[in-house]
């Protein structure tokens, strides 16, 4: 009898210890990024790093480490992706949960999951061979590798996140709300627009934010399809280079222990903090709609 209870306790403690790995990993990521970035900031001032536009770490005379242009590039591509992806994603989510017959919904769901499964490097490849030439032809550009290309691809990549979370949110709206609206003589469209969607607003915003987090952190797609120019972009037709792409391109060729090496860790830390903040905020919003739905 005793030995059985010993094993029972043993496994409870062991599993708790293993669960700690999740906490240690998140903490470890933050700490390692921080300690490595720290070394960069003994050579670069914080204000230069965040506000200077010029990123020229390999310059012989005076290397500069400003991520202004990259932050702006990341913002440009992400906002572009959201401008395309949000209407499409919310429209699809609303269609799936409010309009589509069950059989069609059962076909759409796996299609969205399949889209989520396509590796980012494959999407990036299609940006080069499909979207790029298309943009070049339509807008008469020398090549189509620019911010708009990245925005289109990231929109497609964030669609699965947007659709599935928005659909959950719309689905959680109590049926009584809609029925009350129909009873007052509203059409289905009016009900959707004025009752259903507004009452799950926080869930929809959470969906948008998580889609945005996905877009900001995406690496291979933007690395391949946006042209990789470190200059400050003037608009969607300019080539850009995001924070993620810079780390991916330069880390492999940078000697370890240099200021440049640590500056790339500082880029990753910036990225980590931005996505963490977005996720925490989205989670709070999502929690608030879940409570309301119950």
């Amino acid at each position: 009898m005793l030995i059985r209870h010993f094993w029972d306790k043993f496994w409870e403690k062991t599993l708790a210890a293993l669960a700690l790995v999740a906490v240690l990993t998140l903490g470890g990521i933050f700490l390692l990024l921080l300690t490595n970035s720290w070394k960069a900031f003994s050579h670069i001032s914080l204000s230069e790093f965040f506000s200077a536009a010029a990123w020229n770490p390999a310059a012989y005379e005076t290397p500069t480490f400003g991520i202004g242009a990259m932050l702006w590039s990341t913002l440009l591509v992400t906002l572009g992706a959201m401008a395309i992806g949000v209407p499409l994603g919310l429209g699809t989510a609303a269609f799936m949960s409010e309009l589509a017959p069950a059989r069609l919904r059962n076909l759409l769901k796996p299609a969205v999951e399949m889209l989520a499964a396509v590796p980012s490097v494959v999407i990036g490849f299609l940006g080069i061979v499909l979207v790029g030439p298309f943009l070049a032809r339509v807008f008469h550009l020398p090549n189509g590798l620019n911010a708009l290309n990245g925005a289109i691809l990231l929109a497609v990549m964030s669609l699965p996140t947007l659709v599935s979370i928005a659909e959950d949110a719309i689905h959680a709206v109590p049926k009584a709300y809609k029925e009350a609206s129909y009873a007052l003589g509203a059409t289905r469209w009016e009900t959707l627009l004025r009752v259903t969607l507004p009452s799950c607003r926080s869930g929809l915003i959470a969906a948008i934010m998580l889609g945005m987090g996905r877009a900001i952190g995406e690496t291979m797609t933007v690395l391949m399809a946006t042209g990789n120019a470190t200059a400050m972009p003037n608009g969607f037709f300019d080539p850009v280079r995001t924070l993620t792409a810079t780390v991916a391109i330069e880390m492999g060729e940078t000697p370890q222990g240099t200021t440049h090496f640590y500056a790339l860790f500082a880029c990753a830390l910036t990225l980590f903090v931005i996505t963490l903040l977005i996720n925490v905020a989205a989670e709070r919003l999502a929690a608030s709609y879940r409570k309301k739905g119950q």
Binding site: L15, A19, F95, P119, V122, L126
Partner: protein
């Protein structure tokens, strides 16, 4: 305009959105199958690249991706299942549990390139494992951990309470109940999650960039401490870094198609396992 006409317009726009999403998927499949299937052959899958990758096959990349994906699952599956069992079966609603749950949620949102840097700083530099199959496998394991935990938790949650109470009533301890009753009936759900994690790990590029993937290796990796070639990285090289990009474009299409088929096959397997499980439950 009358209200019903507006409703028709509104509904039509919703249909158009859903159609666009399906069209994106269709376009991806159409382009890759159309262009990639011409180079697909047994030789393409089973031969080494030749003449600076302008000829030959992608065997080492297929092998490397399979190997590193399996290594990552070797770590992610036991660890993820253990975390999930703890959270679902043991954890009380206290600070520790909330901390673990918050960490898992936030890990899921960490960009893959950040995992790559973490792998570099911890496994390559900190632990001295070098850029290798093992290092990449560990990095990918951490990346897929949150999804393994989430899907396993859901599988455990779906085991009926009466099943558990039956075992407990017969005098089984909590662990005996979990081990002999709960886990066996959650296997299909857990398996679904593990297969999806495999598929995610197989397609990732950014986490392996600095942790062990190589442009070209003459031999297959012979130990966990060797470098390896991988399908996603091979596609990246062929489409952006190769000296004769136009010449190797068909090979790039072929690689993209093989990678896509591998990932979709794994997803299909997960789908079938889940569907069977639902029917029998």
């Amino acid at each position: 305009m009358n209200r019903h006409f507006i409703q028709t317009l509104g509904h039509a726009s919703m249909v158009a959105c859903a159609a666009a999403v399906v069209a994106f998927l269709g376009l991806i499949l159409f382009e890759l199958v159309g262009q990639g299937s011409t180079v697909l052959s047994w030789e393409f899958l089973s031969a080494f690249p030749r003449k600076g990758m302008t000829e030959g096959g992608i065997f080492p990349a297929v092998f490397g991706t399979t190997l590193v994906t399996l290594v990552s699952t070797l770590f992610a599956a036991p660890l993820g299942i253990a975390c999930a069992i703890y959270l679902q079966e043991y954890a009380a609603d206290n600070f520790f549990t909330r901390l673990v749950r918050a960490s898992i949620r936030n890990l899921a949102g960490v960009p893959s390139i950040v995992y790559g840097l973490f792998g570099l700083a911890l496994f390559v530099q900190g632990m001295g494992l070098g850029a290798s199959v093992l290092t990449s496998g560990l990095t990918l394991a951490l990346l897929t951990l949150p999804s393994v935990i989430t899907t396993t938790e859901e599988a455990l949650r779906n085991v009926p309470r009466l099943t558990r109470e039956g075992a407990l009533a017969l005098g089984a301890t909590k662990w005996e109940t979990i081990y002999t009753v709960v886990l066996p009936s959650a296997v299909p759900g857990i398996l679904t999650g593990v297969i999806l994690a495999l598929s995610r790990a197989a397609g990732e590029t950014a986490p392996i960039l600095f942790t062990g993937v190589a442009f070209y290796t003459r031999y297959l990796p012979g130990s966990p401490f060797d470098e390896f070639m991988a399908l996603p990285y091979h596609l990246y090289i062929l489409s952006t870094q190769h000296h004769a990009i136009a010449e190797v474009r068909p090979l790039a299409y072929g690689t993209a198609l093989v990678l896509l088929l591998l990932v979709l096959l794994l997803n299909m397997m997960a789908f079938v396992v889940r569907a069977r499980y639902r029917r029998s439950a």
